[in-house]
Symmetry: D2
Subunit: 386 residues, 4 copies
Amino acid sequence: MTHIDDRTLTSSGFYLSQEAPIHSDNPIPTPSSPAPDILRCAYMELVVTDLAASREFYADVLGLTVTEEDDEVVYLRSLEEFIHHNLVLRKGSVAAVAAFSYRVRTPADLDRAAAFYTELGCRVERRKEGFVKGIGDSVRVEDPLGFPYEFFYEVDHVERLAWRYDLYTPGALVRLDHFNQVTPDVPRAVRHYQDLGFRVTEDIQDSDGVVYAAWMRRKPTVHDTAMTGGDGPRMHHVAFATHEKHNILAICDKLGALRRSDVIERGPGRHGVSNAFYLYLRDPDGHRVEIYTQDYYTGDPDNPVVTWDVHDNQRRDWWGTPVVPSWYTEASLVLDLDGNPQPVVARTDASEMAVTIGADGFSYTRRDNEDTPEQKQGEYKLGHQL
Amino acid sequence: MTHIDDRTLTSSGFYLSQEAPIHSDNPIPTPSSPAPDILRCAYMELVVTDLAASREFYADVLGLTVTEEDDEVVYLRSLEEFIHHNLVLRKGSVAAVAAFSYRVRTPADLDRAAAFYTELGCRVERRKEGFVKGIGDSVRVEDPLGFPYEFFYEVDHVERLAWRYDLYTPGALVRLDHFNQVTPDVPRAVRHYQDLGFRVTEDIQDSDGVVYAAWMRRKPTVHDTAMTGGDGPRMHHVAFATHEKHNILAICDKLGALRRSDVIERGPGRHGVSNAFYLYLRDPDGHRVEIYTQDYYTGDPDNPVVTWDVHDNQRRDWWGTPVVPSWYTEASLVLDLDGNPQPVVARTDASEMAVTIGADGFSYTRRDNEDTPEQKQGEYKLGHQL
Amino acid sequence: MTHIDDRTLTSSGFYLSQEAPIHSDNPIPTPSSPAPDILRCAYMELVVTDLAASREFYADVLGLTVTEEDDEVVYLRSLEEFIHHNLVLRKGSVAAVAAFSYRVRTPADLDRAAAFYTELGCRVERRKEGFVKGIGDSVRVEDPLGFPYEFFYEVDHVERLAWRYDLYTPGALVRLDHFNQVTPDVPRAVRHYQDLGFRVTEDIQDSDGVVYAAWMRRKPTVHDTAMTGGDGPRMHHVAFATHEKHNILAICDKLGALRRSDVIERGPGRHGVSNAFYLYLRDPDGHRVEIYTQDYYTGDPDNPVVTWDVHDNQRRDWWGTPVVPSWYTEASLVLDLDGNPQPVVARTDASEMAVTIGADGFSYTRRDNEDTPEQKQGEYKLGHQL
Amino acid sequence: MTHIDDRTLTSSGFYLSQEAPIHSDNPIPTPSSPAPDILRCAYMELVVTDLAASREFYADVLGLTVTEEDDEVVYLRSLEEFIHHNLVLRKGSVAAVAAFSYRVRTPADLDRAAAFYTELGCRVERRKEGFVKGIGDSVRVEDPLGFPYEFFYEVDHVERLAWRYDLYTPGALVRLDHFNQVTPDVPRAVRHYQDLGFRVTEDIQDSDGVVYAAWMRRKPTVHDTAMTGGDGPRMHHVAFATHEKHNILAICDKLGALRRSDVIERGPGRHGVSNAFYLYLRDPDGHRVEIYTQDYYTGDPDNPVVTWDVHDNQRRDWWGTPVVPSWYTEASLVLDLDGNPQPVVARTDASEMAVTIGADGFSYTRRDNEDTPEQKQGEYKLGHQL
């Protein structure tokens, strides 16, 4: 772990460390069993309360391809995917997340996953036939942080539609990019997922060392999942990638044409963290979906860890656009293996929203002393004040 | 004039009329002298208090080309322009607008301009040698609404740099697109500028017929200038065009990199009115600059006039993003021909900000009854409420 | 007319003149009757031999909107159009062009059109009910160059779909931009269309003053129509505009996905002339369609005329990509008012293809002496030779 | 290895196999020593004959960042890179490639690299201080195919400029993407690089099983390097990535503005293989540089291998644009560890150019029988024939 004083300030206003400058005083024990070798985030299983409405949103509005469906479940994938699905919509009475599912490198990694979580005392369930269609032997667990994690290797291959430009829409989604999880104690979560083999690429801290969020990856992008500090376990969002920025703008334009612009919660904008271009939508159940493009390669073991000051007004939006409060406060429930919602535990560390927005928060655009106290009072631009 | 009941509702949620549905009960008299034949908005003369800072903003940050400069004045143009300048920055003690300048079709149109305004009782000044470098014979007036308007035909030609891609930046500005004026009584202003030869392309009204803003053109785009209802005469913004949307995003990215994202006031976004993609910046003196791309051809005489309901949440931003209050309230002073600021007269009609934002305002995304009263209380999205 | 020696060489390698440097020794007489006031090119009527195949190409592949259709005719428009159509496909036995149709400013311009062409001794036909659906009172003529020209003012309005982003495809066509006509004697044609009110914006010449092509406009873009030197009268192409360059690339990608890439004849590329980004396709009958975006404003009366040297290798493609021979040699027949093909007269002036491609042609990338003789032998790049 | 008859034809016209359908009858022995764990292609060292001209090309025209330089060597990197360089330009008398350099996962992988090649009988040189600035302990070898390969782990970190949008040009290069090597016997090369840990993602074959080219990856993109069948060992190209397609078009536009369009050898276009958007340039010594964007994720171990028919006219350009002959025939020499050019051995298998272009070659756009024999005679479009 890099000490806070050993970080390097860059010309872009954030800090670099060689190792993630995050320490947990309250760690989950590291199992002696080796972690499974995770390739990438592969799919999310969402419980939705109105299957037709959700199918319409993901297939007709966002243009995901339906691989297979029946009256209870719809399986969808992005245009460059060759495995059966990236998203499962399952009809249910409570909107929630049933699984964050990762693909592992080999069938043997399922044994490792089972042993790893068993050693941690977690509930583990393995099904040779899979929990959903298209997937074979799978392990699902209630992880130490309360999240329903799944691991699988066996999967039906379907045609990668990357070259089928006749099927592309102006806002075509080409890959599942990442998950984002809400958890009260970010350092504790980071330490646990490091044990599972994830590496930190970026984080947000304050000068006291409070960690507000951290981004972690297996595949060499900025993340396969991220930890967002807040009441949890909850699911913050699932993200799909487009090729170019205009594809994201086209989704907004289409939502306007459909008179459904109110599903746009935040963005489009440029992230500080990840340097990606982004948009956040809310599906018919309020599940948050990010559309995302153009982060950077992180695959070298010494890839520098980026740390943003929580008061840096460009950390979450490089253009300084304020984050809407709902983005901080709302998130989806997650289910245990019986399908019941996990209880939500309140965050006790400082809240990013509280320290940056409103009467008691402050943020700055420039690190120098040019900012007036007024400019420092809350993450708002010129004239945002009524 | 089309009666309000004869408008046609489109599938996009706005109304069409064959003639602008705007009537003034208090018109400025129509001169018997014919109006000059205006080609297009050509340049704005801005008084700036720190010439070096403004030059840096327009030339280094936004990439406009300096045609000519001295210690007191900088002349700038966009990449596709072949006349001497589209923007004049003049050093002065009070930030303000010295001229909204239009090019006319022939030298004889200057005589027409002089007669037109003389008949209106306006102060008129003509200079054979021009008021600024690069421009010849010119007429400047204090128009009936208090705006300093200029007309000229003679102008030095300079090289159109359209093909000089070695000079392009990622956010290259290629044309001056339009002006925007703040005036208390929009119907009165519209009627006067119709007399001057402008045609209405779009407007914003409420069901009582209050007109909040109107867009007017000579060249066949959505506007050469627009009337924004508010305390005036003031200058709301001057707009430059880019070729593509990513050029506008690149300006935001660059401002972030320069740690000057706080000059971004509003956007980027998609306008409802004009259908253009936009961004609003504030220059070092607070003069507002719009970056704009991709509106539509309006050159046919029967081009349908588009009327937006002031409560339509997508009228000013097609994606439903709220307009920041400063955008409604702040604007630049304009000067009389002696260089003194014109007094500002308060708008007495309803304020667009008041009727759409905050406790007493409301707006809707859909025209149907699906919107709950809560959704109708103020132009805010999901979770914008703290 | 600007004399060849009075042209100004620009830093981009072409010349500027204040007036078109084109003189005809064999002009068509200028009528004493005033020309009609043309607004813009409005639609082309194409005769196609397989209506279903053509409809599929224009509506399903290119995404034009069908306004109306029956067993014999299909009427199509672009997304930003508010008049009934921009393209008429009429079933017939010989693929050809039945009309180049222009919209005029007022109904009275139809009288002017009739008088103008009657004075020229042309065959003129006027129909109060129009020649096609959606259009009212119209004048069609066999013009002095043999082209079937139409003029109209009355037209049915239809909904402008500009805001209907739910209908956009990745390669959305938003406007009809221009026509292009093949004619043997370019100066003679230019002179005649100047009489009709068109202005030259650009042309291609050699040092002997031979004119190979010229671009002419009414609306303030680079052209409403162009004269391409060759055997004529024939129709070279009809062009539709997209908003951005990626839209044009998306059309290519889709044609690849449909395994119809062989309809791509030339491009995509950047034109030297017009500075626009372009693509040429061939429809099922071989009619050539250009997809075009981002030329420049030309509406000032003193807009400088651009002249390109025919040996400048970047004149037709700014990146120096060779023009394929078919683009020079193939074109569509045009019909007389009885529906019979007009006879084609051979060009006797030098052929642009002959002077630039192959053993006897040459072209240069740089005007200096750095180019070796080999580089000057034919419009080919490094390694194009087998 | 998947047998040719077990491949699956996709709806896009190419075949899928689970394992690369490539077999060598003449393999290089597989060492018993384990291969080093290669992370990614990291940099190429080019010998250039005019250092100033090459620096100008890569730094001023293409916009790569100079990390460090002296009179003999220039070190350049792309905007998202955090290691010292992606390209080394070294002044020398013969234009050639001095090293294809790969980064490995750990310092211990250098021992593995040394043992691996020593067992193969290759010349191996190790330098603790590195062969170039910025790099530490390195192993260079003359590999069994004659290529100068380098492996390193230690490297100086420099600032990743990803967020420095003030430094971006319209054609900004953000990553080194891949190398491409010319070698006579593709199956033999593939087998050897599989031994080194590379995986095949795509290849081009004919129905007799002749392999014309193959793409191989370590990082999860389509390739870190590719084998192009031809006289070798030679270097075909080095490729840099942009974020979007318009960035590549901007490079072409800039080259036109600089009157250097003749450095554009092929493209821009869409590849069939890789599905990426591309452009090929030639540097002042004729070294070929590709600009590349938007291939797909390949990191799963069962990622399907794509096989293209050599007669498929869309394999190398999805839009069917012919490949220029120089692209097939010209390539850069590679150096041995003494700095002398490796002798070039002729390919004896069929030549892709010969079987697809010209009198004896043929290709098709559609697999069906609709193509006439004429269409099948050579990879040319409508009218390419003079």
